[in-house]
Amino acid sequence: MSVFARADIVVIGAGPGGLHAALAATRAGARVIVIDEQSQPGGQYFKQPLLPYGKTDETGGQGRALIEEARIAGVQFMLKTSVVGQVGTAPITLAVRDKNGISEVSASSVIVATGAYDRVIAFPGWDLPGVVTAGGAQSLAKASSTAFRGRVVLAGSGPFLMPVARTLVKAGTDLAGIFELGRPTAWLKHASRLLGHPGRLFEMAGYAAFFLRKRVPFHFGWRVVRAEGDGALERVVVARCNNAGEVFANTEKPIAADVLCIGYGFVASSQVSAHFGCRHRFDRNAGGWIVEHDDMMRTSVPGVFVAGEAAGIGGMECARAEGRIAGLTAAGDLGFRIAPSDLRDAKGARKRHRRFAALVRDVFPLRERLYDEIGGEVLICRCEEVSAADVLAVCEPWTRDVNTVKAASRCGLGRCQARICGHHLAELISRKTALPVEELGLPSVRMPLQPVTAGEIANWPR
């Protein structure tokens, strides 16, 4: 049975960006539907417990309040729903999939607020059971109130390690150590810029105080070189390194562990925006391929807006400001009354928060060395089990794009549709061909954007 839903605006993603966009547009009078794959709204930052009214921390509580506001204002949610693809242009029509099968949603405008996911840079043993992303650790705690069993190591680089560390400590996890690749001394270079954001400094001081009080074993200037174990993780091997990630000889240290939580920042979720045909630009430090937009958050495709991480990694505050701008503008375009002061405030907030996001990128740059060091035998495509050597073997002197390499090596053709291996593919080909990643193009995106069954397609009237 197929259902056809109609709205003024469809928002893809119920994280901070999507929620604020939906709220702003609904308050202006527009009919808004928000689509999200998860069981609860909130995205990653405002991840809610799966248990209705389950216990949350402070951030979860803020998220709950925002979700309630959206519901009360009249925002409609289609949860546990995946976007399958665009099937019509005027109005914009999307095929979506939920437990009842494939149905369609139409709207005059779409706001892409698809967020981001952890960037893990491949290393030997990263596919062992027990190796998880930093975001996965956060999700397990926030959504499922579940702690990992056994000894846990947290590693990688970036500000996200701090909230994950706090979550793990509060959950009573047996933390063997936290290994941050960067050093606080490298941050001092940016001290004067940091002073321009007192609220954030206060936040960081809060984390520092917490970690000192709990005697959390933080190690700076260390990185993971490999994970080892027979059938599952048994040991994490770390080594001392400089700020570029270059390992110092004879400093390798094996650490017995059952779980390794690892992350090096984020990758922007660009499948939906690529599918719509939006123009993207490549910024390795800002999430990779991110959507181009004007100061009203319009993309290059008429009727399609973007907000939040998909437009460049910037955290909740950027998503909030951009969600508001996109929601107000989309509603205004459809003839709904919006307050110019609201738009002005949101634009001002956006400028401030994007400036801080740029500072964070300078303090925690992506260490390209980590891609340089990926050895031939290391797995690149987890879904199709393709190694770095397999990928390089199909790179010819005339290779100019990622898609031919994808097709020839099978890297990126599996279930996750290149979400996890895409950045690896681009970086490897770039190094082999000496072409910059921006010239290699985005991986092509085809329907279905998320897997559907043959039966669901057969039962879809279209």
Binding site: S39, P129, G130, V132, T133, G136
Partner: protein, 87 residues
């Protein structure tokens, strides 16, 4: 409000979970890290991204295939098929 106990079946064996856990979380609580093995080389995999992006945690749940264990909330009587999981 304390979470209630939920009875589930893992490979036909009764196991305990708590209301509000994802299937992946329930398996983690039951001491399982390896959830399945890969189709080409038969290598063990467990939950990786935890947020529904990587598809490494896919299992058959109540006869539905390719269910992402990290997204699916447990339900009373749920049947989880993970034939290649460790115990």
């Amino acid at each position: 409000m304390d979470a209630r106990r939920v009875n589930i079946l893992i490979n036909g064996r009764p196991a305990m979970a708590l209301e509000g856990q994802s299937v992946a979380a329930a398996l983690v609580s039951n001491g399982m890290r390896a959830l399945r093995s890969t189709y080409r080389k038969g290598r063990s995999r467990g939950m990786f991204c935890g947020i529904g992006v990587c598809f490494d945690c896919v299992l058959t749940v109540d006869d539905r295939v390719s269910v992402r264990a990290c997204l699916e909330p447990v339900r009373e009587g749920m049947r989880i098929d993970a034939p290649e999981a460790d115990s």
